[in-house]
């Protein structure tokens, strides 16, 4: 099955990329994926599987960490972007929301949002987009004058996503939006994000360890392990996959299996079950 095709043309295609850090450390091998225009795609995998690296390879942030795309290409609407600097990538319409709710702690909520519009020249439009962000994240309205370091974790995650929206992206890369948040909040944030997808037409690529929630909102999913994609398919197919059920969704069918001999390679080297 070819990844994500059939829905529409891909807004993003990552073609067989290899990523090397510090000229020697190979962290991604032959990673390919596609995000269809207007689609939501989940990138699943355990800690250290290479999800964040993949997102950074797309957004161009990799090079600021001494990483480099040494093979393959990343294309936005058919144009190669893997040699562009992060500012150029944002201007072309891809913005990454980094893992760990990174906000500018000493700036107010509203100032944080305004930095999101940095790459756009029109001042007036930026001010107007503030209102748009506030309609999606009403919780931020009453916090607008607060320093971002002092608002709650859930609000920080909303702020980070709202700030990314201020750049008016075509594609948003979300890195672990659920991390460290209560299930209720995770649900709330995912619902807002999928509204952004429907109403603002923002395509989404979301890296998640929480496969349950990610697959509920995504149409298509990829599973990564040790820097490679080991499985991909429709969200429905993936969530019905026995291995995924067992290791990500916590639905144990393990009882029926006595031997690990018939367990596929990518399942055997698990450190994920804890």
């Amino acid at each position: 099955m070819s990844a994500g095709n059939g829905m529409s043309r891909p807004i993003l295609s990552v073609n067989n990329i290899e990523v090397i850090y510090d000229h020697v450390i190979l962290v991604l091998r032959g990673v390919s994926l596609r995000v269809p225009e207007g689609g939501i795609v989940a990138l699943l995998g355990a800690n250290g599987a290479g999800k964040s690296t993949t997102l950074k390879a797309i957004s161009g942030l990799l090079r600021t960490e001494r990483g480099d795309v040494t093979k393959g290409s990343v294309e936005l609407l058919g144009e190669p972007i893997h040699r562009k600097d992060p500012g150029e990538v944002v201007r072309r319409g891809i913005v990454q929301v980094m893992e760990g709710r990174h906000v500018f702690e000493h700036l107010t909520v509203e100032e944080n949002l305004l930095t999101g519009a940095y790459t756009r020249c029109e001042n007036a439009a930026a001010r107007k987009d503030l209102d748009l962000v506030y309609t999606y994240f009403p919780r931020l309205v009453e916090r607008r004058g607060f320093k971002a370091g002092y608002i709650s974790g859930g609000e920080q995650q909303m702020l980070a996503i709202g700030r990314a929206l201020m750049a008016r992206p075509k594609l948003m890369l979300l890195d672990e939006p659920s991390m460290g948040l209560a299930p209720m909040l995770v649900q709330e944030i995912f619902e807002i994000v999928s509204r952004l997808n429907r109403e603002e037409g923002v395509s989404l690529l979301l890296a998640e360890q929480n496969a349950t929630i990610a697959l509920r909102f995504a149409q298509y999913g990829y599973v990564m392990e040790s820097g490679r994609i080991v499985l991909d398919g429709d969200a429905k197919t993936i969530s019905e996959n026995e291995d995924i059920k067992e290791f990500y969704l916590g639905l144990t069918g393990v009882g029926q299996r006595k031997s690990y001999r018939d367990v596929k390679h990518y399942r055997r080297r698990k450190r994920w079950l804890s």
Partner: protein, 297 residues
């Protein structure tokens, strides 16, 4: 002269001199705010601008406006060049690397100034009246009034820039978290250059004003040492802090000179601010207005 008059005189002089310290401290704060670099060459920046302006006036015979323009232009170029050539490579290295680099830079500037421009002490005359204004008990040298005015003007301008303009907000974002600033498409390196150039502008004006007050030679760089108590008291990254810190240092200096020096035979003026600085470090290490490190548990 009555007791209170003496106190008021010391206070007013402290305020005026303090604001002139604030101007130089502003240079230090701008760089620290934007790039996290501690600039030990701040005094030398002031000195070298003084050299350029004094050379323009006294050696090359240019009119005053051109001499000041030369100092300003030279410092802006120096700021951008330093960031490009030296400091950019030190990004992400331990703080000590930047500290040592700026200390080295300070020595180089102290050597290069007299070596290439002129040696000895030169005056830097400005077309303002020499004799002080006498207002009641106050005794106000015009140069200090001008200095205080320029300081307030620049502090207000930079304060507005950082709080209200989009570029200023972006600059604070860069200072807050470089990685995230990059992710938002902010050109981090360009802002580093801009911050150094801004420091150059402030230093150039400081050089002209302090050069007029003290005369221009290598010792003009010593003014830079006063920056440390100012920024420690006010906060390394705070513009209002630079004002308040400058005022405190100016006033403390004058009070020490007026009230303690007569008993001990002089000299307390020079170290009193540092006593205060050490005390401040023990109580409030991030300064009165400095940003606290926000920790979450």
């Amino acid at each position: 002269m009555g007791d209170w008059q003496f106190t008021v005189l010391l206070l007013s002089n402290g305020v005026l001199i303090g604001l002139m310290y604030s101007l130089i401290a502003l240079g230090f704060v701008l760089v620290y705010k934007a790039t996290d670099a501690i600039n030990f060459a701040q005094g030398e920046f002031v000195m070298i601008s003084g050299f350029v302006a004094a050379a323009g006036l006294m050696v090359w015979g240019t009119p005053l406006w051109l001499a000041v323009a030369l100092a300003l232009g030279g410092m802006i170029v120096l700021g951008f060049a330093l960031e490009r050539v030296m400091l950019r490579r030190l990004i992400g290295r331990p703080v000590i690397a930047v500290v040592m680099a700026t200390i080295g830079l300070a020595s180089i500037l102290r050597g290069v100034g007299p070596f290439t421009i002129f040696s000895g002490t030169k005056p830097l005359p400005l077309p303002i009246r020499e004799e002080p204004f006498l207002v009641g008990p106050l005794f106000i040298p015009p140069i200090q009034l001008l200095g205080a005015g320029v300081s307030i003007g620049f502090l207000a301008a930079f304060g507005w820039f950082f709080l209200k303009s989009r570029k200023g907000i972006a600059m604070r974002a860069v200072a807050d978290n470089q990685q995230v600033a990059l992710a938002m498409g902010i050109n981090v390196e360009r802002y580093f250059g801009v911050a150094w150039a801004m420091t150059g502008i402030v230093s150039a004006l400081g050089g002209v004003l302090w050069g007029n007050l003290l005369g221009v030679d290598v010792n003009l760089a010593l003014v830079g040492f006063k920056v440390f108590p100012v920024v420690i008291l006010g906060g390394l990254d705070s513009i209002p802090g630079a004002i308040v810190g400058g005022l405190i240092v100016g006033i403390v200096e004058n009070m020490a000179a007026g009230y303690i020096d007569p008993y001990v035979g002089g000299g307390t003026k020079d170290f009193a601010p540092y006593v205060l600085m050490i005390a401040a470090l023990m109580v409030r290490p991030y300064g009165i207005f400095g940003k606290k490190i926000i920790e979450r548990i």
